[in-house]
Symmetry: C2
Subunit: 310 residues, 2 copies
């Protein structure tokens, strides 16, 4: 908790200026630099050896993951990424071929999404590789979607399937940039973010910012195959549904929209992205926190952890 307390303290009194539309606390910072129809999105994200990947991780996937995480934050604002800087801190005995392959994975993802890599630096970190990506993007004015806009009665949606990302998805996911832009262009989303800390923790960010609560229908939460396999094969693992609520690094989209739009959205999205799983998992309610509704009733879900459902 020390880290959260520190961040809360540090972000209380940061220097600001007239260019800042959204400062610390959302998926990206939002800046007004005087572009007629657009605002600028600005984001950094770091991955560290031993925490986000290991020496055994294929280096192409390390590069992919480093950039993909940052791109997912641009998707979380329904934005378009423009250019990135890559900071790579390396032990002195680094293997140049390993580093080249990191760039191979990173560059391939950048090319697919039209992102220019405009420099960066290499520096020394004696004990482990650390990669920090700085990313610039844009979003049409009045189209940027923050975390604080959810209203009572909204339907809550997620893309894809949740949980078990550590099996492989955290290294190979494709950020939902096209999906987020299309959703924001065609529907009036109230709140939007990407799932990095797990559905329960991230949904709580929207609830706190919007001063509302949520009721989640247990049977509607899309649980990934990876989470189910893990729960089945390992009796000590979390139950699959709990994994879907609390595992990190899903990098799916979580958003809310007026419930009268929900069916139209499901239909239109099916046509536009036939392969995309899109699930309405519950609704925004008055109050605070998360209620899970199953066949036995509704139960408060506390913290990021698990409470037993009886």
């Amino acid at each position: 908790m020390k880290e959260f307390e520190l961040i809360a303290h540090l972000t209380k009194s940061l220097p600001t200026n007239e260019n800042v539309v959204v400062g610390a606390g959302d998926d990206c910072a939002v800046l007004d630099l005087g572009i007629r129809e657009k605002l600028v999105l600005f984001k950094t994200d770091a991955v560290v050896e031993g925490i986000h990947f290991t020496r055994e991780t294929p280096p192409e996937k390390i590069g992919h993951k480093a950039l993909a995480r940052c791109l997912s934050d641009i998707a979380a604002m329904a934005g378009t990424p423009t250019a990135a800087l890559v900071t790579i801190a390396l032990p002195k005995d680094f293997d140049a071929e390993f580093v080249r392959k990191i760039y191979t994975g990173l560059n391939a993802l950048a090319e697919r999404h039209g992102v220019a890599i405009v420099g960066g630096e290499t520096t020394t970190n004696p004990e482990r590789i650390l990669i920090s990506i700085a990313l610039l993007g844009t979003v049409p004015r009045r189209k940027q979607i923050l975390r604080g806009g959810a209203s009572v009665g909204d339907a809550i949606f997620v893309t894809g399937e949740l949980g078990g990302s550590l099996a492989d998805k955290h290294l190979s996911f494709e950020p939902r940039l096209a999906e987020a832009r299309w959703l924001a262009e065609h529907f009036h989303l109230h709140a939007l973010m990407d799932l990095s800390d797990g559905l329960a923790g991230d949904l709580r960010h929207i609830l706190n910012a919007s001063k509302v609560g949520a009721e989640i229908l247990k049977s509607a939460v899309p649980v990934s195959r990876a989470a189910k396999v893990r729960a089945k094969e390992n009796s000590a693992a979390k139950p699959a549904f709990v994994a879907a609520l609390t595992d990190g690094e899903d990098f799916e989209l979580l958003f809310t929209i007026a419930s009268k739009e929900a069916v139209k959205l499901l239909d239109a999205c099916k046509k536009q992205f036939p392969k995309l799983k899109l699930s309405c998992i519950g609704k925004i309610v008055a109050g605070d926190g998360i209620l899970i509704r199953d066949k036995y009733g509704a139960h408060k879900f506390n913290g990021h952890g698990y409470v037993h459902f009886t």
Copy 2:
């Protein structure tokens, strides 16, 4: 050299797009995001414990240095900084008060230069503190000054005094933002950069990018008091003049301008910045590399190291 070779390889084939005006290789990347009269500057820079500072460095100065280095790169493009993101990687046992003081130093510098701190992140780096700053700025269109514009006959100028920065200046220097903007507004500078690797090494970046050579007048190079004291007190230290040529982290401005403008520039600058030392240290010549002229003649200065003057 492995690092330089790696960078040369990596920067050869980076993804690009129509927004890129200047990619990897200058002080900042330059992007055209469609702002009517401005281009966007984009830069990252990292400092690492044990390399750029130690646990004994006053934390306020660590924060100051981390941001100041990056601001100096915006100065090197005659730009104006707008907003920064701060990534701080910390050992698990970090001292929250130490980190708060890092921010105190960083925020104070940001406030002085009108820079908004719009977020960032804390992450884990178990063995040492690493701080990476991502910075956005702007520069008027057609006013950005690169490294490749030096012409034969240009006068070469530096601000301040050189060498001996490790005594204290590397932790406390004020980036030359106002000076660089004023120079670019009032004079047609041909090439401009900030001194981070030492005069000889950095001048060579301008020479290589401009395909020219330089002749430096030994007696005109402004040698810092810190470099002189160090050379005097420690017989094993570099001679002070060599320190001025090869010590890193001066963070002064190095620029070239048509020689017929040189006297006018010295006069006007004296009026605008009465306390600023500005020195004309030599001229751009045909050929390549650096010649040092002293009372014995002109001698080629090879590499970043020292050649004995007889």
